[in-house]
């Protein structure tokens, strides 16, 4: 059993040879004509923007540039890869995720986290007041201790 694709049918090379009875010396597909016109307009616009005046030579150069660019673009497209697909793939190339070389975050540090050995606990009701006064007394030596951290303090009597 011979099986084959239908692709041949869709590979009709639609060319425009030129106006009737005036055959151009080249054969270009319709798509090439389309691309060429777009490119020509684009180049002309760029020339105006850059500040090149409209004249014979600027137009001639634009024409040459159009031919070169169009030939380049049409060499990239075929029936297999229509212009739209090539453009899509170009966009996809641009938007694909890249490898991230710079690391985000870096080493984690817990330096800024306060750590207490014990959690605060509820005290019996009677001693609460006493404890509060004791705490206010104790605060002073605590602070001092912090200031001289690393130095051994003599044991208090």
């Amino acid at each position: 059993m011979r099986v084959r694709t239908d692709d041949e049918v869709y590979r009709v090379d639609a060319v425009w040879l030129g106006p009737p009875k005036a055959t151009f010396p080249w054969r270009a597909r319709y798509v090439a004509w389309g691309v060429g016109i777009a490119v020509f307009l684009l180049i002309m616009t760029v020339e105006r923007q850059v500040g090149v005046g409209f004249g014979f030579f600027s137009t001639a150069w634009a024409f040459v540039g159009t031919i070169i660019l169009t030939r380049f673009i049409t060499s990239r497209i075929s029936h297999e890869r229509p212009l739209s697909a090539v453009l899509t793939m170009w966009v996809r190339e641009l938007t694909a995720p890249r490898e991230r070389t710079s690391g985000a975050g870096g080493a984690a540090s817990a330096a800024r986290i306060r750590v207490n050995q014990q959690r605060p606990r509820k005290r019996p009701r009677g001693v609460q007041r006493a404890a509060a006064s004791a705490r206010s007394q104790r605060r002073q030596p605590d602070r001092r201790k912090k200031e001289v951290r690393g130095v051994r303090t003599p044991a208090r009597p």
């Binding site: 011979r2 099986v3 084959r4 590979r11 009875k21 297999e80 890249r98 490898e99």
Partner: protein, 964 residues
Amino acid sequence: MFGRRRDRDRRSAAQHVAQHAAAAGQDRKVYSKRGRRLPGEQAVPSYTPSIAARSIDGHLLRTGQEVYAWYKLAPQRWSFRSDSQRQDLIAAIAGQYAELQGRWMHLRVTTRPYPIRMWAEAHVHNAVRRLPDTPGTLSFDDYMVGEQQQLMGRSMAEKEVYLGVQVQTRNMMDRAVERAAPVLRKVFPDAVDAELVAIESEVDHLDQVIGSAGLEGRPATAEEMSWLMHRSCSLGLPAPRNLPAVPGAPWEPEDLASFTDAADFHQEPYSPTVTVRGRTGSNAGMKRHVAVLTVGLMHGLQIPEVDDPWVQRSDRLPAAVEWSARIYVRRPEEVAGELQRQMNKVRSQVRHYTDEHELEPPQSLARQASRVLEIDDEMTSGFTSLGTRVRSWWRLAVSGPTEREALRLAQALLDLYKPKVAIEHPEAQYALAREFIPGEPLSSSAYLRRGSVLWAASAVPTATAEVGDRRGILLGETCTATRRPVAWDPWMAQELRDASGLTAMVAGLGAGKSFLGGGIVYKTLRAGAHWTLLDPSGPLAALCELPELRPHARLINLLNAQPGILNPYRVVAEPLLEHFLDEDDPERAWRRERALAAATRRRLVLDALTGLLPYEVARLPQTRIVLLRAVRTVGGRPDAHPGQVFEALRRDASEHHEHAVVVADFLDEMRERMSLLIPEQDADPYREQRDDRLTVLTMAGLNLPKDGVGREHWTDAEALGVEMLNLAAWLTQRSIYERPKDLRKGVWIDEAFFLSEVPTGRVLMNRFARDSRKWNVRVLLSSQIPADFLKIQGFVALLDSVFVGRLDDDQAQADALRLLKVPVGAGYEQVVASLGRRPGGARNATERDRAPRQFIFADGAGGVERIRIDFSGPHLEHLRNALDTTPDALRDTRLPAEVEVSAPRQDPFARTEDSSPAAASSDGYPDDYDDELAADLEVGLVDELVDSAHGEGGNRRTGREGRA
């Protein structure tokens, strides 16, 4: 409280299930992630998967826009089928595709690896009662290490093919409902499930279409969906060693993170590969470069006849190839319009050339116009829808640890498909790689392939080359489309598939029969089997000399054994009552079996004695009559012997008395030569019991007739040889009844051609076929000529597995294919002829052909494949040397002498069942005439009676009376 609960559990199952279902429904309602917001949950950022898929419910995968139903397709055998069968398969698949008009399909081919280490695990687990290690020799562990090293890095990967079919596109309402699900679930829970409920009938229809013959797809299970998603989201990475647990509930978007977080893709602009980096699990930190290719232009292919199915072809690559194809089945009206446009285009071009410019139009335009007409004709003719058209994009992906490696594989793939199919390597690798993930949209329309459904179906991605199993001994590897190791467990058929244990091994001289058989015996012995080998010529005796087998092996040269070892009355085992305890009526079954054994003995004696008589005498009808009568007189007791038949002949009192005496004289004359058949007075060669793992029976020096020589031209010695061989085969058969039923036993009868030469051959075959399953026996029968087996009636039906090696004769090749149950005349004869043939240039080489031998192996479970026998590991070198039967004048002559010395001469043969009651006297047989008659019928004794009744009336009655 617990007690009461247990009580409740014990209630009727139906009620329990109903309760359970209700509870599950409630649970879901209450504890669903969406249905309930926990305090503080507002702060949790919402998650949107980075892939298009949004949820998976059963086999339905929902993206934002579509619902796809995923199916796992069944593997299809391709090799060794006839072209018409293959065409039918393609047409069936094409028909299924055609039914899916207007739908998108996503075909995914992936692999599920089965590494050799997993085989080793299964094999060790399966090796029950394995051979104890002998100190100083290759231990079982070393042997297993050697086996794995030989196949290092290889995998018995299994190809898996999934097909996703678009069920429906989702409308705005569906999406809105999904968005509002958290609220809706509280207010109006039915609305949330309404979407899936609405498409239920359509899904059922798809299930039915995909499930019919051809694709044979079944809805993918949750585990399979998980596997597919994993393999696609970590494309090209090695398979994860352990998958996350599969939830019982549907996958919500948040759950999909378990797939997408396993790996990430990235690429440089216009780089030839995309890099996939594993992030979690066993692949963490692993990098793979994936080259994604696409199928370009394609020539016409002759699919079943000349070319492989074009997707299956990629299996030839020594690395796994992932496929992803997007197929859209077009509606005929749509295609018709497009064809019309193309036709107009062609016409206008032709006009443009000829009318406007007066130029010759290119030939291609004419060709295209005719092709348009052809397609139009295909689509409108006939009543089948095989002309339906598809648009499709076929992508392939190969991966390697480096970019270079991936590109090398890509190049290999390009070369593989040359010149008929062009494989392209496009840009936008990342976007193409995303296409492999179920639910992702097509990334670009480039490389669109159009064709008929027949063309799409002829890709047959499900075609595989599978043979053997995954726990048995390693035989070698397949050598057709795929290279994968072949393992075969000879007892799997009996233990799991309820099939017979008969295996035929057919190959010409020097095609590697004894090498293959010896390897199977050696490896299964290591794994705990018990073997009895009948090897008339004797080269397999070398197996007994292998140091690790020597303590457990015994070699018996039957020609030197005790007289009476081949006593036809003894080689048929006496059934024991305890073996029938699992029957409905053990007593009756046992009696029936004993009657059958007795009838078999009589038949065997009759055959043996007839075979020993000169052909002219044996042919006379009187000879049969007198012999039959004498055999009946002696009966079928296990302690009788042929000598008693001679006496009975002399005592014959009928009208043929004279002839009987003549026959007795003939036989008496040969008495010295048949000493093995007649035991000496008071001697019982079966007295001593031994438990050997390997028993090799040889008959070195036996005279056997040449191939193709008719019975009438055999010499006395040759006739005797064949009879003795037959009795020896019965002896090996007997050995299986001496061991426990469940024990894995094997019997290998080499030179089994005689089975078709003696009438009892078929009886023996039937016994083997019947008992091999019940007694867990693998019976290997090897011969050089397949016709020997085909001559035995009904043999092919009894066969389980077949090995066919190289055969040169045309007829033999066709016969071999018949044994394999492979179509004859479809060109496979050539394959049989070319198995392991050396390329022509090496014909005159003086070096020996040491290339591994090839066989066609049918495993009995549907797989038929060409395999290469590979025992080439360094740990098996001693085995290879021992099995090397090729003569070599340069080899030192030390070995044979040693074998002779170590062969235990006059080794009494093991085991007796004398202890069984009532075995000794003929009175032990009750008058179970029905049983006896049935037994006679089964072994064909009645045929004899009817035959001889032609010559002489009423002798059957005489026979009965004589016995009485």
